[in-house]
């Protein structure tokens, strides 16, 4: 489904700030893989998602999506099959548009954005039903601008919008990190509901407990390298203690924030 082959990426090449992040990173994901990525700050988690989505281009190596080499394809072209939610709730919604307008906009993904009415009035009840499932009363705020919503409300909306077109690949970058525990749980539950057999997802988190509770594959990154890649039963059996024990010899693999 997704293949990263021997990716090399250096930031600020040729300057004193030159920084080699990936020196031959490879990763394969099959349909139905729901990968949770953990790793300390700067280990290259966000960049991994950026490389896949096309917001960062690699120096060498290839990115293959659904058997198509997209290494040199622009972000908006790859986006057709990709749904994305960022840590910042602002990145996933348009603040000057209402919930109804935002959802109409997202629902049209995959089709042409032409001169037809932007507002999908006939989908209103469907949108409301989708919002109702969140259980945070967003369905009563259809005419509220996204900019006037709280971070958690906005992120829940962003997640709904990102998954509306049934993307083949869902990229989530600490999308529940900025939320309070209750909203974070709601957003993660909703996320879980998209982790189906015919979808693929990559979810970055700083929280080891969340990482163990979600997905069917665990990837641990450190300094741009894959330290650990476990799936299925092996992942199910994994505990925080075992993880910490495994890497007790390495420095800065874990930070305090990852444990709580």
């Amino acid at each position: 489904m997704l293949e990263l082959n021997n990716i090399k990426k250096t930031f600020n090449k040729g300057t004193p700030n030159e920084f080699i992040l990936y020196d031959g990173l490879s990763l394969k994901a099959e349909v139905g893989d729901h990968i949770v990525v953990v790793g300390s700050n700067g280990s290259g988690k966000s960049t991994l998602l950026n490389v896949i989505a096309g917001s960062v281009y690699v120096d060498s190596g290839s990115v293959v999506l659904n058997k198509i080499d997209v290494t040199n394809k622009k972000e908006y072209i790859r986006a057709q099959d990709i749904g994305r939610v960022f840590q910042d709730p602002k990145m996933g919604t348009c603040s000057t548009m209402t919930i109804m307008e935002n959802m109409s906009l997202a629902y049209n993904k995959g089709n042409k954005y032409g001169m037809e009415a932007g507002l999908l009035k006939h989908k209103r009840e469907m949108f409301k039903d989708m919002l109702r499932q969140l259980g945070i009363s967003l369905e009563e705020k259809m005419e509220t601008k996204a900019g006037a919503l709280s971070g958690g409300q906005r992120q829940a909306l962003a997640l709904l919008m990102a998954t509306m077109g049934n993307p083949k690949l869902l990229l989530l970058d600490e999308h529940a990190a900025a939320l309070d525990p209750k909203t974070s749980a709601i957003v993660l539950d909703l996320t879980e509901s998209f982790m189906t057999k015919d979808m693929t997802s990559i979810m970055v988190t700083h929280n080891l407990a969340d990482a163990l509770a979600h997905g069917n594959r665990l990837l641990m990154l450190h300094k741009g390298k894959v330290l650990l890649d476990i799936k299925g039963e092996e992942k199910k059996k994994m505990t925080i203690e075992a993880l910490i024990h495994m890497f007790s010899k390495e420095e800065d693999v874990f930070t305090d924030t990852m444990l709580f």
């Binding site: 990145m91 603040s95 906009l105």
Partner: protein, 300 residues
Amino acid sequence: MDVLISGIITQGFIYGIMSMGVIVTYLVLDFPDMTVDGSFPLGAAVAASLLLSGVNPWLCCIAAFFAGTLAGTVTGILHVKLHIKNLLSGIITMTALYSINLHLTGKPNLFLGNAVTIFTFENGLFAGIPSSIATLIVAFLIAMVIKFALDWFMKTKKGFLVRTVGDNPQLVASLGQNIGAVKIIALAIANGFAALAGAVICQYQQFFDISMGLGTIVMGLVAVIIGKTVFGRIRLIQLSTIAILGTIIYRATIAIALNIGFESIDLKLITAVVFVIALVLSSSEIKESIVRLFKVKNNA
């Protein structure tokens, strides 16, 4: 109606067409577009030169509109494809347009003389109506056509993208749409409006002057800030309405200043002062969005 008052409102409607473009680039697209100072006289130059060669005045307006969209497209391409900063892209196009406008007209001023314009009412529909009122009605109708076209566009799917790209370009990319293309469309429309306003003003005052574009953008911005400050809080008010009403108030301010003894050479000075006053009096939200726009940044 007093000829002076009808003149103010007429000009308010005409310049209002330009302000509607400005509100699209500045407030919706978040793009400080200086092209307008060149596309406004471009519209006038196109209309004036075509009129004098006997072309139907309405066709002249349409031609001017398309010339303006072309100018906006050039600015958009400079910014999107060549990654030139937004402010600079507009300045480059505006500079080039100065020569192009001169080429179109052949000289720095052009008098339309007795050429038939959209404001020629010898006979027909407006027979018996004072010409100042007939002029007002025509200006009003053009402004309304543009207003409703813009309102409609902003509600289309493409319009939704334009609104999104100014607020959150990442979302546009995430939706699988080309950010650059959306910006170019918005710039084309805005400059089409500016050029149309130029074409209409040129027929209204019956002459073209190469420097008539000077300060157009400042004028548009003042109008937008005034409109936003005075009418911005009205629920569901359209941006286009804000632009037109803001322009009329601005024109009235200028007329009052001239009436209490300022001379026409003071016009730009008055505009500058009104700009500062409007900016100071405007809500912090508008102030921030305008000031932020002119901090040089690159968001190609």
